[in-house]
């Protein structure tokens, strides 16, 4: 047993007051969870402390919350580890997670405050109903419904179940492991800047149907997700959802797969996301290292030197980048033709560029995807495999997949 101080961000709408911090002292084994700590505080100190939970075993996905700023499940975070994290951040910055957390004040926040409490907050990017309970409906579920989260097969349904080759379902087992806890939505840094972003949970769910061999509207789905300006090209590639997800879904990886599929379909999107990707890929093939000015030009107006004419948005964006370029010329940052004129960038020296081109040739004929979630790491111990099997047991078919 060990003593911990948990500092909880509380809020009761009926009080008419804003949110406030309250500390609770709890006493439990370090291997028990942050959720166990909260339930002890609720039992012993304040029965009105509101937290949503059910299975306590990282299966039901009810207890999404932020622990020391990290979005996670309360039941999957050991309280001893949460304390270590709080101590580490205090040691690094001289500021405890509590002091660094959202600057709200309330009774007791400065009274008898523990040096270094574990800070617990409701999930981010969604409204708070009470204490640690967030409104999943207005953000999470609305966005999930946005991606048509059901199968859209064509033709007469078969008399019994759809029969598919098991191999063809392996690809989507990772996104099927989602338990809808919302931790990834809470952590999403794109949504923080653009609340309209469809977001990691819904896009991972979208891939689950895009990759499903029984679905007949793959192209329509990809068009929809790519053509929405708050869709797949609004993801800022920050990896937050990957670290937040308690089930290894890696929503960002699913978003990147959606981009790849949309690209293969040749879908032109209003964000010029596909043009940006293709411009990047082609520049490295030609030059080996990145020609930034060419990337900028080609992202907005591919082939402008040829016959394609840029869109209105492209012209606006390119004009918009002129002040930045002028500032760069003034300070000397961009004061060379190489940096200013698209395409003047040098190639790699002494035949190295041909080596890069040869790699393109080889990779383009294979285009292999190596998914570690599915293939696992070679030489892992048998026990570890067993653990992983259990870990992934909520994902249908994943047990066979792991072998």
């Amino acid at each position: 047993m060990a003593e911990y101080t948990i500092k909880v961000r509380r809020f009761q709408p009926e009080s008419g007051e804003g949110p406030y911090w309250e500390e609770f002292n709890v006493d439990l084994d370090p291997s028990l969870s942050v959720l166990d700590g909260l339930l002890q505080a609720k039992d012993n100190e304040d029965g009105s402390l509101a937290v949503r939970c059910s299975c306590r075993a990282a299966i039901c996905g009810s207890c999404g919350m932020k622990v020391n700023g990290q979005s996670t499940l309360g039941c999957k975070t050991q309280i001893g580890e949460a304390q270590e994290q709080a101590d580490k951040m205090k040691g690094a910055t001289g500021v405890s997670a509590a002091e660094a957390s959202s600057p709200i004040r309330g009774e007791g926040s400065d009274l008898g405050s523990a040096d270094n409490p574990i800070v617990i907050e409701p999930m981010g990017n969604m409204p708070v109903i009470k204490d640690l309970i967030t409104d999943m409906e207005s953000t999470h579920w609305t966005k999930i419904r946005r991606v048509t989260p059901w199968l859209l097969p064509h033709g007469e349904p078969p008399e019994r179940e759809y029969i598919v080759d098991p191999e063809s379902m392996i690809d989507i087992t990772q996104s099927m492991a989602c338990i809808q806890c919302g931790a990834c939505v809470s952590s999403c840094l794109s949504m923080e800047a653009d609340p309209g972003f469809i977001g990691p949970a819904a896009l991972a769910k979208a891939y689950r149907f895009v990759g499903d061999p029984r679905d007949a509207e793959t192209q329509e789905r990809l068009h929809d997700l790519a053509e929405d300006p708050h869709g797949i090209y609004d993801c800022t590639h920050c990896f937050s959802c990957i670290d937040a997800c308690p089930k290894g879904v890696a929503p960002m990886d699913q978003i990147m797969r959606l981009r790849r599929r949309a690209g293969e379909e040749g879908i032109e999107d209003p964000n010029s996301g596909h043009d940006h990707e293709m411009a990047f890929v082609k520049i490295i093939e030609k030059k080996g290292t990145l020609d930034e000015s060419l990337l900028l030009q080609e992202s907005f107006a591919p082939g402008v030197k040829g016959k394609l004419k840029p869109t209105k948005r492209a012209i606006r964006e390119m004009l918009g980048s002129i002040p930045t370029a002028i500032r760069g010329i003034k300070t000397g940052k961009m004061r060379s033709l190489q940096k200013l004129i698209p395409g003047v960038h040098h190639k790699l020296p002494g035949g190295a560029q041909d080596e890069v081109k040869a790699i393109y040739k080889h990779a383009e004929t294979h285009n292999e995807e190596f998914n570690l979630y599915i293939k696992g790491e070679e030489g892992e111990l048998a026990e570890v495999d067993v653990e992983k099997g259990i870990e992934r047991s909520t994902a249908p078919a994943s047990e066979e997949v792991g072998k």
Binding site: K88, A92, G94, V95, E99, A100, L189, S190, E192, A193, D194, P229, D234, C235, T236, H237, C238, F239, S240, I242, A250, M256, R259, R260, G263, N271, S272, G273, H276, E277, M278, F280, T289, L290, E292, L296, S299, G320, P323, T324, R327, G328, T331, K333, M334, P349, G350, A352, V356, A358, I359, H362, A363, E364, H366, N367, E368, F370, L372, E377
Partner: protein, 305 residues
């Protein structure tokens, strides 16, 4: 840490020789003063920044396997100076290391060039950002002994860049759990004062600057604004792509968040260089968009006090 000379295969990346030339220059200067020998990989290629992997994973893995193989040819471990290179290369390395058959398949594409990437033993061949190398191999004590002009009174906000802090499982945090507080450690050793603010480990927004400009600039502007509100004199970053959004785009970001900004953003080697006694001009600080004048004033005031 020992005093033995450190020699590394050095991958400077694209942006440090493109829109942030001051990074490449300041790294060379600082390496010399620290006694780190850099063997530049001038034939190596772009890491793909996650964009090539988005297009064709095998292509990204092979391109980076080539860079690793070129580094291994020198018999040295590799160093990069870009969080994005670190993240994109670690991602490919993780896949290559996971499976010998896949590695052999990728190496097949390199065989015509006399190259091959070999998986290192635990603690063997590594690819580390300058930040990791500084703390783990060079050593903070040794760095402290090199400080000629402590950054007394300078309040510095760390800004890591997503690719060097997430995902933790891929970036060696099981062996080096403190990698997400190294910037704070370095700032302290150099005599500066760490500023805690909300954005230190958040996204600068750069990856979507051409795709979702407002989302992108709102991120950059918010973090710079938060750091100013927390009392920072400057930010420091180990990532030149973050630098592009936080510094080069700062005037544009200010328009999106609708407030005055004007906060200097230093590359990690520049901050180290200042503490080693180098002049702001030789560290290329005049090339920045957000003026570094205030940092220089604070340092002068700190030295006089």
């Amino acid at each position: 840490m020992s005093d033995e000379k450190i020699k590394v295969a050095y991958w400077p990346g694209c942006v440090s020789r493109g829109f942030t030339p001051e990074l490449h220059g300041s790294m060379a200067l600082v390496a010399e003063r620290l006694g780190i020998e850099l063997v530049e990989l001038d034939r190596a290629n772009c890491c793909g920044a996650g964009v090539i992997a988005e297009h064709n994973q095998e292509l990204a893995d092979t391109l980076n396997a080539r860079t690793f193989a070129l580094a291994q040819q020198t018999g040295l471990s590799m160093m990069n100076i870009c969080s994005t290179c670190q993240g994109a290369q670690s991602e490919c390395q993780q896949r290559l290391d996971a499976d010998s058959a896949y590695r052999a398949h990728v190496n097949e594409a390199l065989s015509g060039q006399g190259l091959s990437y070999e998986k290192g033993e635990e603690g063997g061949w590594t690819n580390k950002n300058f930040l990791w190398l500084l703390v783990e191999d060079y050593g903070l004590d040794r760095l402290a002994a090199q400080v000629k002009r402590p950054l007394s009174g300078l309040r510095v906000g760390p800004f890591y860049g997503c690719y060097i802090v997430r995902p933790k499982e891929r970036l060696g945090y099981n062996h080096f759990p403190d990698r997400d507080i190294y910037l704070e450690k370095v700032i302290e050793v150099l005599g500066g004062q760490v500023v805690e603010y909300d954005g230190a480990r958040k996204c600068c927004g750069f990856p979507v600057i051409t795709m979702a400009r407002e989302t992108s600039l709102r991120q950059a502007g918010t973090h710079v604004g938060d750091a100013i509100d927390a009392g920072a004199d400057c930010l420091v970053t180990p990532c030149p792509l973050c630098h592009l959004n936080l510094d080069m785009q700062q005037p544009e970001a200010a328009k999106v968040v609708n407030r005055d900004l004007g906060l200097a953003v230093l590359h990690l080697p520049q901050l180290v260089g200042l503490a080693l006694g180098a002049e702001p001009k030789e560290l290329g600080m005049s090339k920045h968009i957000a003026s570094t004048g205030w940092v220089e004033e604070r340092l002068t005031a700190g030295a006089a006090a």
